[in-house]
């Protein structure tokens, strides 16, 4: 994402935070910014903890977006995207979608992993009832959009379609399950690409975990 666009979107998010949660939350408060850094700027061998990330709350979003805009912190972008998802606030949705569309050219491995995590994060955001996040995931499953970035030999459109299937599942929403049911029918009739089947099955398995053990059990 270009610096100017990043600044504009940061301002938009800040304004939205002011409107939604009050003037004190326009920036991440310093103690919370430190907590964000402590969580995100380390590598979590078996994944960032849902409970820790969710506990940060929407007030952490400005600092998370700062990290996502800092190329020097690229190794931590995937943590940032996952944390933006785990916060489960619609305020991060547009920024994540912009991130997907504004990277350009051949990206480096850390950026690639972060970009590929966006559908997962959108699914987490959709769990709060964000219909636009769900709609974005449905569009990704259709696999018609072209992205302006690439990574080695990866078919980015197919990869994001697969990830979006899992994103729909982790949302846990009834309307997302309906989309997955339709996808299953399309797979049965050959009207959907077969590469989505293992991801649909993975999504179903995660939904079972959600129903049985709750959200955190899907992720940690």
């Amino acid at each position: 994402m270009t610096p100017s666009i990043r600044v504009v979107t940061l301002i938009v998010v800040a304004v939205a935070l002011v409107a939604v949660t009050g003037p004190a939350l326009a920036e991440t408060p310093p103690p919370l910014a430190a907590a964000v850094d402590h969580l995100v700027l380390r590598h979590h061998i078996h994944g960032i903890l849902y409970a820790d990330a969710h506990a940060l709350g929407p007030e952490a979003i400005p600092r998370l977006l700062e990290i996502l805009g800092d190329p020097g912190l690229e190794p931590f972008w995937v943590n940032t995207v996952v944390t933006l998802g785990f916060v489960e606030s619609s305020l991060a949705r547009e920024e994540l979608l912009s991130f997907l569309l504004e990277e350009r050219g051949e990206v480096e491995g850390h950026a690639f992993r972060a970009l590929a995590a966006v559908p997962f994060a959108l699914g987490c955001i959709a769990s709060s009832g964000d219909r636009e996040a769900l709609a974005a995931l449905e569009a990704m499953v259709d696999g018609t959009r072209v992205y302006p970035w690439s990574y080695r030999t990866t078919d980015v459109v197919r990869l994001l379609a697969q990830k979006a299937v899992v994103g729909l599942a982790v949302s846990g929403r009834v309307d997302a399950v309906a989309v997955l049911d339709r996808l299953e029918q399309d797979l049965a009739t050959g009207d959907a690409p077969a590469d989505l089947r293992p991801h649909l099955e993975t999504g179903r398995s995660l939904l079972s975990t959600l129903a049985r053990e709750g959200r955190a059990a899907m992720f940690n």
């Binding site: 061998i45 943590n79 996952v82 850390h110």
Partner: protein, 279 residues
């Protein structure tokens, strides 16, 4: 001259059992950019961290050492998606590939959980672990720790820099006795030196290696002596003797007998009529 030869033989005799070396067979996915040199560098880094004492937690010098065993293999076919693990089937397929360490581009799924920030996944009590290609040596050894059931396949909670902690800044370096023995090593007892107080905020233990005027302390290629915390001379380092002491951390796998610790099968030569003296 006799003394010189004796020193060489004596060192060769005691150095050999010093390190407990474990070989990792390695494969990478065909679509994952990763080289043997990167793997070897990661092992060299973690070996140093294991074998030396850090000042971040209570730590011990451990004789565990890891190297690549054989040439790196390649698995998968281009475009098969196995370089980006995000389903149980892909995880299982990659685990079933030859060789213990499998290096891929990304791991999003491990052991029933889905989380794109995962960077490694190891079987509990069984061979096989998977790491992302940019990972550091401590992540490889962490996953190996799961293979050999260190902490019963759980994580260390005693120190955030522990190899078996679930977080890393890619320089995790602390091990306790349980981790060290689990990795196949044993604690290297310290043979000389004592706590010499706080130097630039770090607690250090020092011994003095004195190289007299006219003598030279020469480390041959492949050998390694920790001279100061964080500083290692790994190949052909030469000190010209000036009678000044060189602070050194000295450990040996043979308790009770003062010996220099030379790593990686190297040996140490004192030339020019020099000597090494322990004060």
């Amino acid at each position: 001259m006799k003394a010189h030869v004796f020193l060489l033989l004596w060192l060769a005799a005691v150095v050999t059992p010093g390190l407990a070396q474990t070989g990792f067979t390695v494969s990478r996915h065909v679509d994952t950019a990763f080289t043997e040199a990167e793997f070897d560098l990661a092992m060299e880094d973690v070996n140093f961290r294991l074998q030396t004492v850090n000042d971040r937690c209570v730590d011990l010098a451990c004789s565990a050492s890891f190297v690549r065993s054989g040439a790196m293999g390649v698995f998968g076919t281009s475009g098969d998606g196995l370089d980006f693990i995000d389903t149980p089937e892909e995880l299982s397929t990659v685990f079933d590939q030859d060789n213990r360490a499998k290096v891929v581009t990304a791991v999003d799924y491990c052991g029933g959980i889905y989380n794109p920030s995962i960077i490694g996944c190891g079987r509990c009590g069984a061979d096989g672990y998977i790491v992302e290609s940019w990972s550091s040596g401590d992540v490889y050894v962490h996953e190996y720790g799961h293979n050999v059931n260190v902490y019963n396949c759980a994580h260390a909670t005693w120190c955030e820099w522990s190899i078996m902690d679930d977080d890393t800044d890619l320089t995790n370096d602390s091990v306790d006795d349980y981790e060290c023995t689990g990795f196949g090593g044993s604690p290297l007892p310290q043979l000389c030196g004592s706590e010499s107080g706080n130097v630039e905020g770090k607690q250090v233990v020092t011994c003095d290696v004195v190289v007299p005027v006219g003598g030279q302390l020469r480390l041959l290629a492949g050998s390694q002596v920790q001279v100061l915390s964080g500083l290692t001379i790994t190949a052909d380092g030469t000190f010209s003797g000036d009678s000044s002491g060189i602070p050194a951390f000295l450990y040996s796998a043979a308790p009770g007998t003062p010996k220099l610790r030379i790593l990686d099968g190297g040996y140490l030569v004192v030339t020019g009529g020099g000597q090494i003296r322990f004060d």
